[in-house]
């Protein structure tokens, strides 16, 4: 019996996780989301950007993730856009990942109508640009060289949002939402290091520990880690969304995994004692 428990068919474990997640997603129960300092830092910096009065505050959001990270990172994108639009901050969106444009467009199309924001005047989608490092370098030196037109063919110097942008450092805040290595290998190494931009990040939970060194050195002035970070940001902007809804499921899943680990260890110790007695 103990041996069967120790070597249980993994499909039972999958079934338990499935039931827990479905039940938690269907349950309508509020959950407290404490705010961590890296997320607070992003929020505070956005608030400071919104206070700028000598020019229309404009931020750049780089959507560098694919559909696989949609569940974790898309809520961050929506929360950031809601925060920016609610404070009158203009947003330019771009993609360095080839599978990101669909998600970026969906984010703008979801949030912009909520605030009656007008394309061109309040936000611009620049589209996907291949080249990685070259794109960041070009933007750092001459924005119109990197993006002469937006994703729809409009010249960027004719759009109110990007008309005054001549290079990357003209953006008041650059936030990169990443599921890969674009933060450390592109934005920090080339954007922040060379052009001294104000850089914030949003990453999947598994990548967050890798970003802490950049937080400590100040190369990143804030970080939104994973679904929990997205839920914290939704709480800060007082607009609970998908991330807050997912926190319940995530919390119960973590509890289920911890309980299964404890259960497995109990069975292990029992089997070890049995083997010693034998």
């Amino acid at each position: 019996m103990i041996d069967r428990i120790l070597n249980i068919d993994r499909r039972y474990i999958f079934a338990v996780i499935f039931v827990v997640v479905v039940w938690a997603l269907m349950a309508d129960r509020p959950i407290q989301v404490p705010i961590s300092s890296p997320v607070q830092d992003v929020f505070d910096f956005m608030e400071r950007v919104a206070q700028i009065d000598d020019h229309p505050p404009t931020i750049l959001i780089s959507f560098d993730y694919g559909p696989g990270s949609d569940a974790e990172v898309q809520p961050m994108a929506l929360a950031l856009l809601r925060h920016a639009f609610s404070k009158g901050v203009r947003v330019a969106g771009m993609c360095i990942w080839e599978t990101a444009p669909g998600l970026a467009k969906a984010a703008f199309e979801t949030v912009a109508p909520e605030f009656d924001k007008k394309y061109g005047d309040d936000y611009v989608f620049l589209g996907y640009k291949s080249g990685g490092i070259a794109v960041v370098l070009n933007m750092g030196q001459d924005f119109s060289l990197a993006f002469p037109a937006d994703a729809y063919g409009n010249r960027t110097d004719t759009l109110a949002t990007t008309a005054r942008i001549s290079r990357l450092a003209d953006f008041d805040y650059v936030i990169t939402l990443a599921a890969g290595n674009t933060i450390d290998q592109l934005w920090v190494a080339y954007g922040q290091d060379r052009y001294k931009i104000n850089l914030g990040g949003g990453v999947t939970a598994v990548m967050a520990p890798d970003m802490f060194p950049f937080l400590q050195t100040g190369q990143l002035n804030g970080l939104i880690p994973g679904l929990a970070g997205a839920a914290e940001y939704e709480k800060l902007i007082e607009h609970p969304g998908e991330a807050t809804a997912g926190m319940l499921a995530q919390s119960w899943t973590h509890i289920a995994i911890v309980l299964s680990i404890v259960f497995g260890n109990v069975a292990y110790f029992i089997s070890r004692r049995r083997d010693r007695e034998v």
Partner: protein, 423 residues
């Protein structure tokens, strides 16, 4: 240049103001005789201009003394002209609380003072809609204006001139260059030493030692060995390192006569893998064993690659799975599927985020630089072994610097910290 300061009555100030505000915003006529002193505010006594150091050109740095006290909301405005007496255009603004020389050690050194402000001017506004970039090798003249509370203007008669030029060397990165050259020298010296004494010791790497066992197991069971490349392209060091391992693996598999299937996500890696496996078979004296279809370009998309490889693992149940390269989220998908298929798994990656998954699930894990040392470890070639020893020596030196730098910094001596700071 000389500075002229005169006290002005409020009436004269109003006249002066009206002269400024009547003019179009961008093109400002500088009246060097109109100077006013704000109560308690000392107008900067000097102004200097120089080419911005360590840049690609088209930028001039303007420096002036910081005022000991200043009214709230006071801004400095740097004015630019192509002729000594104007017309003047706005080149940039800096708040009176703005950065000083000591805030930018990359440009001014670690011992720069905090008594002077600076502003890098790369363009100036000719009107409200357009600006003109600074050109290299052209003389520009600079003036300084102080604006306080939007209704008081102070203009100094100071001016300075300079030319911008592109710099050939970034002196702020000199420490990095010296350290890089030093490490290169150490590596080359150790390679030379290894040529003279080929019997260099490298500690055992369990994952690399287990390669033969894994391939032997596959041979005994009559099943295939899967070699799964990471997601990065050929420019990634980990991919190059994994190619070294593939070279050795393909030779041994050819000798044993078993099947090796190589999974690729990048087309260039796929092309190199084909050549590597082919060469391995030729070197083993078994060119007939090579099958082009066994080196597979699965898919360029991350999870399509994971799905394709997993499908093959589940259907063909290989005896050994070698996961080598830089992995992302799909690492757990590979490892768990391989574990479920009953394969012996050896993973090698320098991806910090995926190492925990491999360590918990795979039988052996080659971590970080152990992967880079694979070529030397498996081939035992003196030149390669020498570079590993050079790398180790570099690490010893860094550790010594780390310890001594920590001790010195604790007592307030940060010279060692500065040497290793990347500006």
């Amino acid at each position: 240049m000389s500075v002229a300061l005169r006290h002005k009555t409020p009436l004269m100030l109003a006249i002066g103001l009206s002269m400024f505000w009547a003019a179009p915003k961008a093109q400002i006529e500088a009246d060097t005789s109109v100077v006013s002193r704000l109560a308690g505010f000392a107008v900067p006594a000097d102004l200097a201009a120089m080419d911005t150091p360590n840049d690609a050109g088209a930028s001039i740095t303007v420096i002036w003394s910081k005022a000991p006290t200043a009214p709230a909301k006071t801004n400095y405005e740097v004015l630019v002209a192509t002729e000594p007496h104007g017309p003047w255009f706005l080149g940039g603004k800096l708040a009176v609380t703005g950065h000083v020389l000591s805030d930018e050690p990359a440009a001014f050194g670690w011992n720069a003072d905090s008594l002077r402000h600076f502003l890098n001017v790369s363009e100036y506004d000719v009107n409200s809609d357009s600006s003109v970039a600074i050109e290299d090798d052209r003389t520009y003249h600079f003036g300084l204006r102080v604006v306080a509370d939007t209704d008081t203007v102070v203009f100094t008669a100071l001016s300075a001139s300079a030319e911008a030029e592109a710099n050939w060397f970034n002196w702020a990165k000199l420490n990095s260059l010296i350290l890089g050259l030093a490490f290169t020298a150490i590596t080359l010296i150790m390679i030379g030493a290894a040529r003279k004494d080929p019997n260099l010791y490298i500690r055992r790497v369990a994952g690399l030692d287990a390669l033969d066992d894994a391939l032997g197991r596959a041979t005994e069971m009559g099943k295939a060995t899967f070699f799964v490349h990471g997601l990065d392209g050929m420019s990634s060091i980990s991919t190059i390192a994994s190619m070294n391992i593939l070279s050795q693996v393909s030779k041994r598999v050819a000798q044993f006569g078993t099947t090796l299937k190589v999974m690729n996500r990048d087309p260039i890696v796929h092309a190199v893998s084909r050549e590597t496996v082919h060469e391995g078979c030729i070197e083993a004296g078994r060119p007939d064993v090579y099958k082009e279809d066994d080196v597979i370009f699965v898919a360029p998309d991350q999870f399509a690659y994971a799905a394709g490889v997993d499908g093959m693992i589940v259907r063909e149940k290989p005896a050994a799975v070698l996961l080598m390269g830089y992995f992302y989220a799909e690492s757990l998908v590979f490892a768990e599927t391989g574990a479920h298929a009953g394969a012996i798994q050896i993973a090698g990656t320098d991806s910090f985020t995926q190492l925990p998954f491999f360590i918990t699930i795979c039988d052996y894990t080659i971590m970080g630089e152990e992967l880079y040392a694979a070529s030397a470890y498996l081939s035992r070639e003196p030149k390669l072994m020498g570079s590993i020893k050079g790398q180790d020596l570099g690490k010893v030196i860094l550790l010594a610097v780390l310890v001594s730098g920590t001790v010195l910094a604790t007592f307030g001596f940060d010279m060692l910290t500065r040497v290793f700071t990347n500006l």
